[in-house]
Symmetry: D2
Subunit: 339 residues, 4 copies
Amino acid sequence: MIVVMKPGATKDQVRHVVGLVREFGLKEHIIEGTDRTVVACIGDKRMVEKDAIENAPMVERIVPILAPYKMASLEVRQSRSVFEIGPQRFPLGAARVGVIAGPCSVESRDQILRTAEAVKESGCIGLRGGAFKPRTSPYAFQGLGSKGLAILAEAREKTGLAIVTEVIGLEQLDEVAEVSDVLQIGARNMQHYPLLEAVGKVRKPVLLKRGMSARLDEFLLAAEYIINAGNNQVILCERGIRTFEEYCRNTLCLTAVPALNEMTHLPVVVDPSHGTGHAHFVPPLCRAAVAAGADGLILECHPDPEHASSDGAQSVTPAVLSDLMNQLHRVARAIDRDL
Amino acid sequence: MIVVMKPGATKDQVRHVVGLVREFGLKEHIIEGTDRTVVACIGDKRMVEKDAIENAPMVERIVPILAPYKMASLEVRQSRSVFEIGPQRFPLGAARVGVIAGPCSVESRDQILRTAEAVKESGCIGLRGGAFKPRTSPYAFQGLGSKGLAILAEAREKTGLAIVTEVIGLEQLDEVAEVSDVLQIGARNMQHYPLLEAVGKVRKPVLLKRGMSARLDEFLLAAEYIINAGNNQVILCERGIRTFEEYCRNTLCLTAVPALNEMTHLPVVVDPSHGTGHAHFVPPLCRAAVAAGADGLILECHPDPEHASSDGAQSVTPAVLSDLMNQLHRVARAIDRDL
Amino acid sequence: MIVVMKPGATKDQVRHVVGLVREFGLKEHIIEGTDRTVVACIGDKRMVEKDAIENAPMVERIVPILAPYKMASLEVRQSRSVFEIGPQRFPLGAARVGVIAGPCSVESRDQILRTAEAVKESGCIGLRGGAFKPRTSPYAFQGLGSKGLAILAEAREKTGLAIVTEVIGLEQLDEVAEVSDVLQIGARNMQHYPLLEAVGKVRKPVLLKRGMSARLDEFLLAAEYIINAGNNQVILCERGIRTFEEYCRNTLCLTAVPALNEMTHLPVVVDPSHGTGHAHFVPPLCRAAVAAGADGLILECHPDPEHASSDGAQSVTPAVLSDLMNQLHRVARAIDRDL
Amino acid sequence: MIVVMKPGATKDQVRHVVGLVREFGLKEHIIEGTDRTVVACIGDKRMVEKDAIENAPMVERIVPILAPYKMASLEVRQSRSVFEIGPQRFPLGAARVGVIAGPCSVESRDQILRTAEAVKESGCIGLRGGAFKPRTSPYAFQGLGSKGLAILAEAREKTGLAIVTEVIGLEQLDEVAEVSDVLQIGARNMQHYPLLEAVGKVRKPVLLKRGMSARLDEFLLAAEYIINAGNNQVILCERGIRTFEEYCRNTLCLTAVPALNEMTHLPVVVDPSHGTGHAHFVPPLCRAAVAAGADGLILECHPDPEHASSDGAQSVTPAVLSDLMNQLHRVARAIDRDL
């Protein structure tokens, strides 16, 4: 941490700051520049409330130097994490790119079994589908709940696909954890800390979606909550951020892929369905995500999008998915990976 | 809802859309313009998944006409809601502006009692303070929990101030609801639906903070969850949104005050501490919020901000608060309100 | 400037960075922390291309310490700047708040003279109105040009109001500078550097609007261009930034008022018409801007907004303006200023 | 255009709106819904100031239906535009992807000739390089001007590469147009209308960069200015938008590629250098842009980035460029295009 003093700060004011720095167990290093004095603080106390020093007289600002997360960082673990997903133990985070597809919501047994069949056929490794749904409106379809979980379990049995479904609260955690191969934490719950701690106690991979306005530091701190609670199998999912753009539901930020690869050892997947909001944008952005180096994709696929109970506008049909998987194969091989 | 067809859509394609519209129980009205056909849909089915129609061939886009919330809207209730707050039954939403102040976290009995005394003295109506804290980092101070609640209860007894404290999960709800006069839902939990439904069953006012990237529609849909579950005492709190600006923690959007007054009957309060992130910006933005027509303010005040366990940088001292309350008095009277 | 090395940087890599630092004429100061080495660089060379050092091996990032602008900063000039505006020499930047009002575009002699009369009557100090208009669409009304300038000059003669009109290119500068008391640089031109340099050679105050996505540093660097070219009479205008919000044309950021007051000696005015985009939001945001400490306001007023050639949606009527000025009087006095 | 009335609007108020609609030469179509009345307006008058109707009593909002641009749209021209670039007449917008590379600024004859050689060698079609530079700070390197143009011309002669250089004002237009094969309009000048009109009179392709906070509609309206002035050879360039993200200079929005392909017939290129701001992010985002369907790329390349006069942090070396071109070749072929 660097404390930048305002021009004109007196020796006493600098001394007062030094006192605060020492209270935090840090060692100071005073540098007198041509215009102002800065106090560099040495020692790894990432989490103390250093911002409070901003209140000291004549302090201009505080510049953090260390990243606030630790166990998610490449400093602690240099080799990339690889996690085994589902009954087939697909190694996510290694050379092959894993694709997970399925409807936004579990609507019926028939819908899921038909979709699962098509998803399997096209070469995907997992089936997504929400049994418990967090919906922006209280009047919207809220999901089939436990019944939906049973349908997903049946689909896995029939296809061998890994099941990826969301857990929206502590109440459903045990039930979901029993069925799901990967526990999904939705974007709205990225900073729901009691839930992060709870999935940190489960022995299953967690797919953590980036909050719609989360900076990467905050995203990795959410991952840190899970790892800190005991579960190091965190898969990061970029799914678009909120910006001023109107032609897409969110702005998918593919620079996050190489950026996260620089910051953390955790695998990174991309969700172009939520990241764009429109089915016709999903194939080109899936190709782009793979070309940018994503370890996996998660996308929405529905046998009859015009009648989907949720997210119809951004779901591709099984036919589009199948064609897309062929394209992705070629793109993956162009960058020396595979699907 | 208006369905805009692409130029060149055939009669059959329009007929297909009309079929979907009727499936949703809506009546269509076809308008053939010079360049394209639009299908206006009549009937109040706010919550059906109309976006799915976007997938129909040659549909360009869907334009919603009705606001998606209902009970929070001025259409359902024209007169402004006024809620009684705390032991003194302060009428929030009426002529007087209510100010709530206190530290970010409850740190000790002494800290709270000293702060409460000062807050009371300066003319505030409520004391804020977190017992259970949602923190961005797992390594940060997480609050005193139940012990903190007891301290807050003691402060109320001593001062008559209303207690405003956050509930971060279903687990703590009963405990918090027993002590707190107002249940605060934090910005990160604005779309934590199980929690919204749970506070909807409590008979106490809820202070709902706007999510950091929530549009006003989404903010009012979160309020709608609470009202729909049975509790119509929702107080809306603007606390800044995330933008590209760097000199402030969030961008406080005071246009939200008159905008919400046009959209809803619920009272609106403003939080300039989180809305700016720096103690020196809090007084001018408090004055501005009152001048813009806010029904109340909630701000952070700490007897020793340099040593606060959280949010020190944005907490004012009791002396600043006292001076500020005098200014706010004058501003309120300038717009024919009072403090 | 601080150069933060990645963990594991070798002595040689640090030495290489020190070499680059010295090439820039800066002195280095190496600090070895527990996790990483940082190189603090001393010497005021604000403008060298220090970011290039980011390319050196094992450099993590560059943290600037000094603000990039100089003459606009409080370090160079501690007392607030006050500029005399118009024939009445209104001192903008001092105790009284100056309000400038008028239509978006000059449409006709009658429109301007009627508006000017009303604007004068209500207590404003200036008349705004565009003769040359920068329009988002090539098909929109582009202004009356020179004829419009003549009408504005006549309005000044009749009322004594200061004329504030925009200059959109070097071609019109001489003509506009002859008539206008204040040269307005629009938000879209905030980084049109040849124009900034050109108005820097004129001896009239310049009202510089903040670009719609400009950070405050960039805003002050645009002011620096004008001051550096010889004209220190720059008035800064906050007019809203682009965010994800949809109910307002822009997000008016009133925190910019106290923030700019901390960073610069230049006066700050606020434009709630562009800052909100809707006439009904203009009065509350004008009040808020004054309460936040703005030195002035600039707003749109049209005798018949339903038929305005541009910006009708955000223009208030003369009757609303007159009522608003009474309110602003009271708010200004509540914070010990006047109108 | 659809005019949405507030609930409770009287017949007279609707009639008043109808009067305004007719004044604009449009035909109305009144639809009485369950909750509110809407007035659909028929007739293609894209550019009238319809927003002014928002001021009429009891109007809630105006919903535009037609896109505001015309000649840039797919409605006017259905087949994709292909423009010939440079002495080799590379067909941009067709099957092959064209890559343009070079330094941010022309710094010296030696720097440019060395870079041009490498750029040519690696298979690029054009050389970028700024002779006149728009710089955020008045103290930064402003370019070599005319001398720089002469160096670029020499590089073209030696290599056959197309020259792409920026024009920052009307003053330099003739000079730049004489040398440059493609006239670049920078992001800061996207709404500098006199300049757009001026390049609209030149018979050379224009590379128009998207403004940092421009919506796609505004971007296409800027293109419309150029086409409307007589030059239909407009190449659109996505170069990142400003968001809250901090790890990248801008947020590169690759969804813009398929979105623009849906909206317009103009070719789309991507600039991952400005779009990310860091050299190490440029290769993955170049690959992603090609996979998303971009017609071309423009990126910064410098023989010695540590000593570049501008944009050093985001410039790749010739060695990285050469390796990248090999990767891009493979990605292009994976989607049935070529380099």
